[in-house]
């Protein structure tokens, strides 16, 4: 289910947390669905089980998953936390794009007009023209 990049500079532990969060946010993992056990993941991915254990503990601390002793870890039903996380991600992306736009010399008004076009497109379902 996971695919990690062992050559990446990012620690495996962080990659595990991010991948799991992503799958929860995008509904690939549904609420109350059971996560693979530490043993199984260690075997499937050839990763140190202590690293997986640590990632699961952190996910539990952040409220993305919960664990039942003797049964395993499950996806938490936390719509709000997930919504907040989505908003945070979007905000970061918009911020980055706006900074880039300013950097190459776009004016505030030009960016606002893009925002308005996006709004029109969503509300009226009209085509976005190049104007």
């Amino acid at each position: 289910m996971f695919d990690l990049d062992l050559r990446s500079r990012k620690p495996i532990y962080e990659q595990l947390i991010e991948k799991t969060k992503e799958m929860i946010i995008h509904d690939v993992l549904k609420p109350d669905e059971q996560l693979p056990s530490v043993r199984l993941l260690a075997k499937q991915l050839t990763i140190n089980p202590n690293t997986i254990q640590k990632a699961y503990r952190e996910l539990e601390r952040e409220g993305y998953i919960y664990s039942i002793p003797g049964k395993g870890s499950f996806v938490a039903n936390k719509k709000e936390a997930i919504y907040d996380e989505k908003v945070k991600q979007l905000e970061e992306n918009i911020l980055k794009l706006c900074q880039e736009a300013f950097y190459i010399g776009l004016k505030k008004e030009q960016i606002f007009s893009i925002v308005e076009r996006a709004e029109r497109a969503i509300r009226g379902g009209e085509e976005i023209d190049s104007n």
Binding site: P11, E14, N48, P49, N50, Y103
Partner: protein, 299 residues
């Protein structure tokens, strides 16, 4: 749990290990790093109860290990230079191990034939170096040790075999909470193998840390401003190292990722990148601060 407490060892004039203290919790994989002659093998031989330390104590689950047969039955030390009885086959060697190690698992021994494609009636001394190492792992994993001490274990194994060996190792750690100590001079190798590492240099332990903690709160920042970096930029930031490459400033910063990003963006950079460090880079900077040059310690 392995506990090493203020341990020293000397060979005549040579002080091989100087006042080393650390512990390896049960079910953990500990990486011991250091250049040739740093004392890794000496330390491992003491943990395995082969050498006796001159000072300090070494205990496994609370009991001293030296001359302690009950503890030694649970430990396997896989040395750098392997030893097999002359002219024995794998099967004969396995029979010997079965009598030494009470937890020997015959069923597992047979099952592992699928992983190690070698005929068990072949004589070991006729095999290649890499195959002999496979035999050593085959016998080791079949003996089901609680503590496994590996000296440069993956040398001589091909990529496929390395992956197989790592996989069994991780399964044994996950399922039976086997405790592992691994020595190496290769940072990349231990990086995805171990959860804790210690670096030995001239017989002293100079760094001892958990790998994930080591990597989470340290970042490489590349940033450029219109003109010089504002002086307020360096304040409120824990900068370990900085260097100008043309107009781009490169620094190594300690702290939380979000806080560093927020701080840097306040100063309107025209270019800004934040990267995690590789383990190798961390050591270069950490040890630079302690007056060691990495080239002398790791290869």
């Amino acid at each position: 749990m392995i506990q090493i407490n203020h341990v020293s060892k000397r060979f005549g004039e040579l002080e091989a290990i100087k006042d080393v203290t650390f512990s390896v919790p049960k079910g953990s994989i500990y990486g011991l790093l250091g250049s040739n002659g740093a004392g890794k093998t000496t330390l491992m031989k003491m943990i395995a109860g082969i050498y006796k330390q001159n000072k300090g104590t070494i205990t496994i689950d609370g009991e001293p290990i030296f001359e302690n047969i009950k503890q030694k039955e649970r430990i396997i030390f896989l040395p750098d230079a392997l030893y097999f009885f002359p002219h024995t086959t794998i099967r004969q060697m396995a029979d010997f191990y079965r009598h030494i190690y009470p937890k020997w698992n015959e069923e597992r021994f047979y099952k592992m034939q699928e992983l190690f494609p070698i005929n068990m009636n072949q004589k070991i001394h006729r095999m290649s170096k890499g195959m002999q190492r496979q035999v050593a792992f085959w016998l080791t994993f079949s003996a089901m040790p609680d503590v496994l001490i590996l000296d440069e274990p993956l040398d001589g194994l091909d990529a496929v075999m390395r992956q197989k060996v790592k996989n069994i190792l991780f399964q044994d750690v996950a399922e039976r909470e086997m405790t592992v100590v691994i020595s190496s001079h290769n940072l990349f190798e231990v990086e995805d193998l171990c959860d804790r590492i210690g670096i030995l240099h001239h017989g002293s332990l100079i760094i001892e840390k958990e790998i994930d903690n080591l990597k989470t709160n340290i970042h490489k920042v590349q940033v450029a401003f219109h003109g010089q970096a504002p002086s307020s930029f360096f304040q409120q930031m824990d900068v370990i190292y900085k260097e100008y490459r043309g107009s781009v400033l490169l620094c190594i910063v300690r702290g939380k990722e979000e806080e560093i990003i927020a701080h840097i963006q306040k100063h309107d950079p025209i270019l800004f990148d934040l990267l995690p460090l590789t383990l190798e880079e961390i050591f270069i900077y950490e040890m630079g601060g302690k007056g060691y040059a990495i080239e002398n310690i790791l290869i």
